[in-house]
Symmetry: C2
Subunit: 384 residues, 2 copies
DNA sequence: CATAATATATAGGAGCCTTGCGTAATTGGG
DNA sequence: CCCAATTACGCAAGGCTCCTATATATTATG
């Protein structure tokens, strides 16, 4: 029916065909195998999915044929007696997912299984991405490298999500970018799409992807409402509302940094004021601890940053705020004054956490985004 | 199966029962009748739902039995020849939906059909609602009145949504209220729930309900991302994100008014500064037009208000901002300076519209909320 | 009143799921 | 080495649902 690589979306179930039942059950079986890593026997699946054994067997025949499921060696006898059961697993490596982070620092690409487990990461050295052609080549190169590293070729890619330092529309068009203005006329997204036309190619703002990563694997796993604030080359924010990434009509949701009273421009200036050779956070934190009398510089910085965060919290009422980007290395030394400043403004106390995803946050978010797409189309899992 | 009044939610389709198909088809037929007001013949339904006539007939027998569908008189011969078909309609009046607006001004109740068409509106005179018992009685009275007006009794109520000037948690608990602090200990929601235990009773913040109304029937119909700002007794906001009401973890989403830089407190002071006997907007607008030199007072007010609106727009990137509450009567005279002030801050121009729902916005939002609940549970329509 | 047109009822054929029984494969003890 | 116990697998019967196709009922029109 829907074999690997062919991502069909079924909106409304067709009750006119009896085979719809078969399809429902097939998805149920596949979902179960997807959600539980282990090798399953038919009997296990049947009881878990509340189906009869013959039905599960039928579904497995189809799923094996389509390539979504693998039959593994019978388990080396668990408790003893009886004929050993055939075992089945979700074929999480028949295809790979890719997440790319393309920014002024270069390009990063993560390859992962269909479940989203990271297989490899490749980073290019710094290169000038202001030129569209350069950027395209950097993406192609980094993808080639990561694929060769995991021993796959381009046609094994099921879904690819690219994070860009720009405001990205739903269709992938770049609505606005301050970082690389020349991309807008070059139409990078279209070219990447054409280059990998056999795969599902998606584009998203880098901060939003990092947010998806924090929500999926990071400090905000399991929450339904969270805010992610990134401080690094820029200050940016992403938000999960009701379990889903908030994009807005242009894809510009979260741009509270443009609000003067949010004081993020000031915060960012302070953050970068210490020059480029020295990692700025060190200097900032040093000053913060050295100077014990008078207005602590770290405190002033936190105060500035807190304005925008408080605005986000008042608007969204999130469960958790995650602080990411280069600044995350400050850890508790930042979180404490920041929490205090935010709490002074908001109606409810908000838990603030530091990101632990590091440099790969955006590329990992690309993986999560790709995976969510696969889950929604193939497994019919509603992300929420 | 699921008869009127019994709102069963089916999460996962049970593929183990063949009768699941029957259920799917039954819902499809019911949805079709719900979405199209007219009286339908079996043949029409069959072609619309892509089902065979016998299947549709079977579904209709069940739906008639359960009370969701009515058989109407055969149409007085449309084009002429042939045996006239039996006609069926969605039974939109077997039960009623209620929406209640409970606030310092008193209580308002709207009764509506299951499709959400307004049947009657009843307003109590002013009464002191600071006492919990008084408030409860006001709700009960206004419901009794509206029901007698439409000739129904309490057991005809399928769903009831009450709007409160408070932050309401998902379970209906009042998390915070500045208007009527005494309600918190009284637990008004629980008492109302107990009083109407046979119906689905829900609670929501009044501004959020007004937002749902604007999104369903008002100035923002058809949008997937919108912001509603209400200026009246208080200044408050509600938001639709990705087609759904944003609530946040405590139900406090949209409370940007607490952000000092949003200057809503100042705006509100200016708005109310003209005393209570004269409707403030008149005075404000008069001053605005009279004084042609110097900083126009309306402009200053708009500037204040614009800060918070711009913050909301930057965070959410909405398609439309709707201005509601008493201030809506200012119309274009407010919209124009407000749009200018907001546009000076936001990244993208945002369309701003004035609400035309008037005083009943909150109660209508209660109807929309009740209707959405029925649509989700009975018709399995995903609001989005 | 006969005929055409349309709706409704009924029967046959095929698909899917469940239950239940017989067969296959493996382990452990005599 | 062989047999019993145990567990898995495969097949067939029964029941439900859907669809198509044909027969019957009902009404308007000439």
């Amino acid at each position: 029916m829907a074999s690997v690589g062919d991502t069909r979306v079924v909106q409304t179930l067709d009750g006119s065909e009896v085979s719809t039942l078969r399809w429902i059950n097939e998805r149920a079986v596949l979902r179960h195998l997807y959600e539980d890593d282990r090798a399953h026997s038919v009997a296990e699946i049947a009881s878990a999915c509340a189906l009869s054994r013959p039905t599960v067997e039928g579904a497995l025949v189809q799923l094996l044929q389509d390539g979504w499921v693998l039959e593994t060696a019978p388990q080396a006898s668990g408790k003893g007696a009886g004929r050993p059961a055939k075992r089945y697993t979700f074929a999480d490596t028949v295809k790979v997912l890719l997440g790319v982070d393309l920014g002024p620092h270069g390009a990063t690409c993560v390859a992962a299984t269909l479940r989203g487990e990271r297989l490899a990461t490749v980073r290019t050295g710094e290169c000038d991405l202001s030129d569209g052609m350069e950027a395209l080549n950097a993406v192609v190169r980094v993808i080639q490298q990561v694929l060769s590293e995991v021993g796959r070729n381009e046609h094994d890619v099921l879904a690819l999500t690219v994070g860009l330092p720009a405001i990205v529309e739903v269709d992938g068009r770049i609505a606005l970018t301050v970082v690389v203005p020349r991309w807008q006329s070059f139409d990078l997204p279209r070219r990447i799409k054409e280059r990998y036309s056999y795969a599902q190619v998606m584009f998203e703002n880098d901060a939003k992807l990092a947010t998806v990563a924090e929500h999926t694997w990071g400090a905000a796993t399991g929450t339904r409402n969270m805010v992610n604030v990134l401080v690094g080359h820029r200050v940016a924010a992403g938000m999960i509302v009701d379990g889903r990434l908030a994009r807005g009509i242009h894809g510009a949701a979260g741009e509270i940094g443009a609000f003067p009273a949010a004081r993020w421009a000031s915060a960012h200036r302070r953050w970068r004021s210490t020059g480029t050779s020295t990692p700025p956070h060190e200097t900032l934190s040093d000053r913060g601890t050295e100077d014990k009398s008078g207005p602590n510089e770290l405190q002033v910085f936190a105060d500035d940053l807190a304005q925008g965060i408080a605005a986000l919290c008042l608007v969204l009422d999130p469960e958790v705020v995650v602080i990411g980007g280069g600044i995350a290395q400050l850890g508790d030394r930042l979180i404490r004054p920041l929490s205090d400043s935010v709490a002074a403004i908001t109606l409810f106390p908000v838990e603030m956490r530091v990101s632990d995803l590091g440099q790969s946050a955006v590329a990992l978010g690309g993986i999560a985004h790709s995976r969510n797409h696969v889950a929604a189309t193939v497994l019919e899992i509603d992300q929420r």
